[in-house]
Amino acid sequence: MAVRPPANGSGADPQAQFPLVLGLDTFGDRNADSDGKPVSHAQTIRNVVEQGVLAEQVGVDFFGIGEHHTGYFPMPAGDVALAAIAARTTRIRLGSAVTVLSSDDPVRVFQRYSTLNAISGGRAEVILGRGSSIESFPLFGFDLAEYEQLFEEKAALFAELLKGEPVTWQGSTRAPLHDQDVVPHLESGPFPAWVGVGGSPQSVIRAARLGFGLTLAIIGGRPARFALFSELYQQALAKFGRPPMAVAVHSPGHVAATDEQAHEEFWPRWRDTIALVAEERGFAIPDEKQFRWDTGPEGSLYVGSPETVARKIAANLRALGASRFDLKFGMPGLTQQSVLTSIELYGQQVMPRVHELVR
């Protein structure tokens, strides 16, 4: 990372003081074999571990696993897979992307990621989400109508737990804690915690208030519209008496040798996956015209050759005042081979190029 002058005054880019971080995220996308037949959930999870190990080998900074509970994303316990990756790596940072905190217990989340932090020698992170993927609510007996209050309370408790001292807490979403020592203790201060935000400005304010990093999850529309969120976050941090903090972007994509090959591999899997979500949520299934716009310079999908993807990442980091980009790679139905190639190209070609472009 090039050394840049620190921010001075409100006009300076507040992100200039943060190192450029380029990561990869997965939801445990269920692979297909070379005949297009889905592999088992167990094989998919073993594949994710291999993906994480490869990500370190090709120089990726961060590997994140997002909690999901469906047949096409069979990844409800990503922290277990992260622990397996931790045992086989030494440098790459490992975290959730995201943890659906609203339907989890903040104490358990802290314990699991503090354990991962121990196993990995201090490489754990967590991205907390309110839950746009909501299968976990009925599964664990939470009322979706309460998701806002659930997240608000639990995020505040999580911020307390991260301080690493005995916690006294009372609320309506879990049993009270009185001067509770929560183990395992942190070895060297709190691990990084972020909040994943999909478009609610109130969530941006909350991240600032609680002192969490901001991850902008951008999966549709024009990424540039989130620039104001990034500014809102920095202004809110200032208002709460906190220093500027890093902003990250999370978006889906796929890298292949050429734009054509990337499109060819990704589009049918994207269409099929979005169709499943569209059916649940009742919106229209995107057509190929929409897909071409999404993958074009204005859209929020990063699908193409290393050069195409690198240019788009660099442009949007700049536009969004962000210093970190996590590419959500893979898609249900892609083969493990094509996913591994995508990871390799990301680490070996996209990342160096992004560094060049933003320098």
């Binding site: 400005p201 304010i205 519209r225």
Partner: protein, 243 residues
């Protein structure tokens, strides 16, 4: 405040989440005086409005509603059930909400009926004129797709309501904030705008929009009381767009 200058109705937007600020911003740009309210203290909204909706007034919900000519409901439907109907009495109400069991949980008021969500909303707001619109456009593209009247490929917004004057008023607002209004008829005809319907989340021009509704609705499939839109049944373009 600038209502004296514009002569336009005052909008009170309820909801400061994904949707409310975007509608408020479009309305401000079109020249409307706008107040916006979240669930709580307007002081908590000051940063959001200053930066995301400059020109809008953050207010307590009761105040935003009391002073508004038009109230925009952009809150989760489960929260609507806690809104006091008396507060909205006599108002023109734009219902931009959706019943979304996968996002809101199952709400028996809306689940145990064939009626559309806006019909349930209207039944609760018996003394308001409820108009359904904007619910079918994704918040992430609501602003990007807004265009001045007369722009080729301008996107359509469906409008449904039982009060003809209210529908006309809302059509004027929709046109002014950047969409071609397509009048669908009464509120029950607005069921086609709901999740799972032929135009929900689809980016369509007015002719495409009307075609999509026709194609998806063979006669036997029509909800009772629904009327198919007449092609071209939308008000003429207004002058003085944007700003």
């Amino acid at each position: 405040m600038h209502e004296a200058e514009t002569g336009l109705p005052r909008l009170g937007v309820l909801g400061a989440g994904h949707v409310g600020p975007v509608i408020a911003r479009l309305a401000i740009r079109a020249g409307y005086p706008v107040a916006i309210a979240g669930a709580g203290d307007p002081a908590d909204l000051s940063l959001i409005t200053e930066l995301l909706v400059p020109g809008a007034q953050p207010r307590w919900a009761t105040d935003a509603v009391a002073d508004a000519d038009v109230v925009v409901l952009a809150i989760p439907l489960h929260r609507f059930l806690t809104v006091d109907p008396a507060a909205l009495q006599g108002k023109l109400v734009i219902d931009a909400m959706n019943y979304w069991p996968s996002g809101d949980g199952v709400l028996s008021d809306f689940a145990d009926t064939a009626a559309g969500s806006s019909e349930i909303v209207a039944a609760r707001l018996a003394r308001s004129a409820v108009v359904k619109t904007l619910n079918h456009i994704g918040y992430h593209e609501l602003e990007d797709n807004a265009r001045p009247a007369g722009t080729p490929d301008r996107r359509a917004a469906g409008i449904a309501g039982d009060d003809a004057a209210a529908v006309r008023g809302v059509a004027g607002i929709i046109d002014r904030i950047g969409y071609d209004p397509v009048l669908l008829g009464n509120l029950s005809a607005g069921r086609v705008l709901q999740p799972g319907g032929p135009v929900f989340g689809a980016v369509l021009t007015a002719p495409e929009f009307e075609q999509a509704i026709r194609a998806a609705k063979p006669a036997g499939d029509l909800p009772s009381g629904a009327t198919l839109p007449a092609v071209g049944a939308r008000p003429g373009a207004r002058s003085g767009q944007g700003g």
